[in-house]
Symmetry: C2
Subunit: 307 residues, 2 copies
């Protein structure tokens, strides 16, 4: 049994991530009291029905009163509004963290509002599924997944250690890096893949020569792999695109340049260039499996060989 790590935790936002944190806190007994707050009355009601916390309020300001840990799990574009709302009600010595997919923007939005004596430590758990909302969360979501902190230069080591303990209790492995580097890394490993997935699904949906029903019917031959990422929460991903613009545009430019090279190789029948790329990428998959970052079964384990 894990010990109580914080007397009072406030969860601002109770979607896939917030509600998974809530379920873990309850399961592991990490807090004496958990206050849940979200702007949508409907979502708040659902969180209460799911019995995710100890108390519920539509006011983020009210929620953070007396809280030792505040976890903000909202679309990154809403970070400043939340910071403004909670700032004056935060308890001295409280730790405020977030789970946003972009970090430089969240820091710019939240840090200026944080009062002295409050420890603001930006964080990003690399976990989730394509589902969203309080029903989509589950205990164990963060197990074995990375959580990246991008602490500000003057961060209190003790507060940092307490937050690290919290995420480790949830089963995460914690890394630290600079916010700007985080945003570049995530632009390639997460943001570009999502944008490309959204784009290809859009392209397929718009064709005149191939019907939508044909695309759906025959999607198992590759296309369906992209539809998972392209089913992710639209608001979250709009905000990611708007708040990590520079790094995303840089990665998009690289991607397009490489695609032009590949397109030219196809046009001119340069099989050797294709072979070189197609062989090299295979090794990347192998490394990912060896690193334990994907399942080692064909087809993501969707299809099982007959016994």
């Amino acid at each position: 049994m894990t010990a109580v790590l914080f007397d009072r935790i406030a969860l601002i936002g109770i979607g896939l991530i917030g509600s998974s944190i809530a379920r873990d806190i309850r399961k592991l007994g990490l807090a004496k009291h958990v206050v849940i707050s979200t702007r949508s009355a409907e979502t708040l009601k659902r969180a209460e029905e799911l019995d995710l916390g100890s108390s519920y309020t539509g006011s983020a300001a009210e929620a953070v009163e007396g809280a030792d840990l505040v976890v903000v799990s909202v679309p990154v574009g809403a970070s400043e509004a939340v910071a403004q709302e909670i700032a004056s009600r935060l308890k001295p010595g409280a730790i405020v963290t977030d789970v946003g997919s972009t970090k430089a923007s969240v820091i710019a939005q939240m840090a200026p509002h944080m009062p002295d004596g409050v420890h603001f430590i930006p964080g990003h758990p690399l976990a989730g599924t394509e589902k969203s909302g309080p029903d989509a969360g589950f205990a164990g979501l963060f197990k074995g997944r990375w959580c990246i902190f991008t602490p500000l230069p003057d961060t209190d080591p003790e507060a940092l250690a307490r937050l690290r303990n919290f995420w480790e209790a949830l089963g995460s492995r914690v890394d630290e890096m600079d916010a700007v580097h985080h945003d570049k890394v995530l632009a390639i490993v997460s943001h570009l893949p999502h944008i490309i997935a959204y784009n290809i699904v859009g392209t397929a949906d718009d064709l005149e020569t191939v019907t939508e029903s044909e695309v759906i019917k025959y999607s198992a031959s590759g296309f369906r792999d992209f539809t998972r990422l392209a089913a992710s929460d639209p608001t979250m991903w709009r905000d990611v695109c708007l708040h990590n613009k520079d790094a995303i545009l840089e990665m998009l430019a690289r991607f397009s340049e490489d695609l032009a090279y590949l397109q030219r190789a196809i046009r001119w029948g340069e099989g050797d260039k294709l072979m070189e790329l197609f062989t090299r990428t295979r090794a990347v998959r192998r490394s990912i499996i060896e690193a334990g970052q994907d399942v080692d079964v064909p087809d993501f384990g969707r299809q099982r060989p007959d016994a």
Copy 2:
């Protein structure tokens, strides 16, 4: 128990697809004798070790002698060489089919060599995994998957019905369409997704600002989904690119045009355009799941909620 459908079947090529067919034939008792042929002595030996057929030969010409059904499962670029090699040894009345991912090119390569009295019926089972070789095949691979025939105008209805019975015995659902249309449909549902996946994995592998070990470590946040397709057989995919060039270049042009639009929306902060696309693509995923073409569990079922 399914009845014997063909006295003698010759399988030319014994990779993922060929060896899965072999396993199904054996399991279901669809033939009295199965001859297996492949150019690589090593692969042929492995097929024999796996006990995939009744007899084994390095010569495709020898393999087809007396066969009632010949299934050619080789990279599409090798189709003409196989057709030339087997043509004069085919039994009158034999059915010759293939499993290639491009159809107009396979027809152009094989049809001119087929002797009168032999029924050439091009086919394409939409099944497979990212693995390749005789060890990667398994019984049941084709169950519930589509198999598309692109028959030539003068195809004998009885031969067509026999081949349909064969694929249906393997659990496939059979569709028929024109070869040119097939190539367009597959360009969007299969070829473009594979090319895009290969490309993004290549881009990530080439960056200077983010290390390869970072890409691998944090790949679970989206990138790893692409690495599965990008681990597919390089020779097969080189040949697909070279043999469905026009349809692929058409789809690539559409994809790039749409990506430029999306890129511009990101640059200029046009959140409404992003929301419109990101919402629309979610519905496509829903349709695919409703059509039974993907599993209805988050994250392809990789990660299971704690009990």
